[in-house]
Amino acid sequence: MLEIILVNRQPVFNKLAEAWLDAGATFFAVVNGGQVLASWPDYLKNDTADLTVPIVVNGVALGELQVGGLHSEEARQMLYIEGQVIEAIVQQEQELNSVAAVLVDTQDQFWALYQLTQTTRSYLDMEEMLEALLAKSADLMSTESTFIWLELNNGQLLFYQHPAVLLGKADVTDFLIKLVRSRAGFLCLREVENHPGIENILMVPVDVRFAKTAVIGMVNKVEGAFTTPDIKLARIIAEYAGAQVENVISYQDSLDKARLGQQMELAERVQSQLFSQEKPQVPGLDFWAASKAASHVGGDFYDYYLHPNGCLTFVVGDVSGKGIASALLMAMTLSVTRIRMQRTPALSPRQIIEQVNSELYKDFSRVNMFATVFVGQFDPANGRLVYANAGHSPVIFCPAEYKPMFIEADSEPMGILPKTTATERTIFLKSGDILIVGSDGLYEVHNKDEVMFGLDRLATAVASLRTETAHMLSNKVLELIHDFNAGQYQEDDRTILVLKPTG
């Protein structure tokens, strides 16, 4: 180090030497381990130093300053001070060197990152991205091959190597064990035994949120062995690889979600088409039905069929649970029910429930679900309504002159017992009376204070809207519930069927 200082700071030493010689010294010299690095004037063999001061920087002795021909205390002190000056200069030089080294290192790393980014940024497919990344990494690291090993949380293993295929899964597993045991945070083997074709290997962990185990490795350094800068560079590559893998997974995730969203929208359109589209024109009857699923698809359903004799058979049902599972079972229940509803001669409501339950009981049990169902048959000629209620609510009968009342279920829902206990009842509706058959989504609705809309509020709302048409009544009830639920998540499907004799 002193040699470098002597060259870089020669004027300083010239000035010091000149001062010593002017003060009567026979010579001034810089010496290290008996070797004279510089002297003013030339060092003679028989010269002996009268004053010396060691140059020690960070505990390391680098040499000493020597002066001949002077013995005074002032001269000794002066040399001591000059020694300290030289030490400070050496220290500055060392710090400058290490700052320069860090800068070079950082620049190398930025360059590597730039190269990696340029190479991989256009890939959104995992395999393509990793291949490009591995190829560039092998290039940057000057290795025969680079590999990445990702055991994703979903159990999938992604193992790629590029350009040369040098490792089997067993090799990587073995190196992984060594990496865990090394506790150094990386594995660097300058010589490898028992793995033919592998001369040396450097392996560092990759931080990936979606992976249980993730490492990137460099195999067979082209010239020489892996060095400390290689380890630093490998870590930079690993960090970049981790971020890229997460990006690609996130991208694929959002792509999957978008696809699922499209599928769900399609399912929603299909489901809305499953319900009867044309409202029947029944003389003497104002009729309306509507349904709004909580998510894209739901488990509520309604259907109706106008028999040639003028009777209207209708059904409102609610399959337990929510979402796609309910929707699938709903579609099955609806189609089986529809077939029974359209039989000639017409089946009674109890028969419809019995037959559908008997046909679907095993399916319901297998998937741990059930369906509440209300089936009604209305004869506009005499206002006679025959119905069977298998666990369904709410059913509100709102006579023209009286308070609304609830029609309770008589039997358990479909899918609970192999043979249903459904029974049938008859009531008569006259002009001005209203029958509402809804689903529990009409009253199990909560506002922001967790207060439930409830059955009583629903019955009151229906009574206050009794002069509206069936269509308007349906709309306004749904609107009221929507407003009550304002800003909250729609918890359940909402279905309403309104039957209003008019004459």
Binding site: S320, K322, N368, A390, H392, S393, S411, E412, P413
Partner: protein, 112 residues
Amino acid sequence: MQITERQINDIQILELAGRFDTTTANSVLRHIDSATAKPPAKVVVNLEKVSFVDSTGLSTLVQGTKQSRMQDGDLYICGLQQPVRIIFELTRLDKFFEIFSAEEDAIAAFSL
């Protein structure tokens, strides 16, 4: 939802607390599955601290009842709060389940 499991003699008691709905039914089902794994499957589900049961919760109890009956046992329900009792009544599932006011009554019913 909190699920506490206790055992009194050969009877498994499942004490639930909170909302018993789509989001919590699966964890209840896991407890019911293990309680009904071998005969005689005698299970009491205490709903004293349950504020709400939806159709998925009801389905879970139906399945638990069927499973325990297949394993020479039964599943009894107790401690229904009024809003929860209404849900059982509206669906007429109060006729399907054996429902008791207090846990002691449900436990005692197994020795009848």
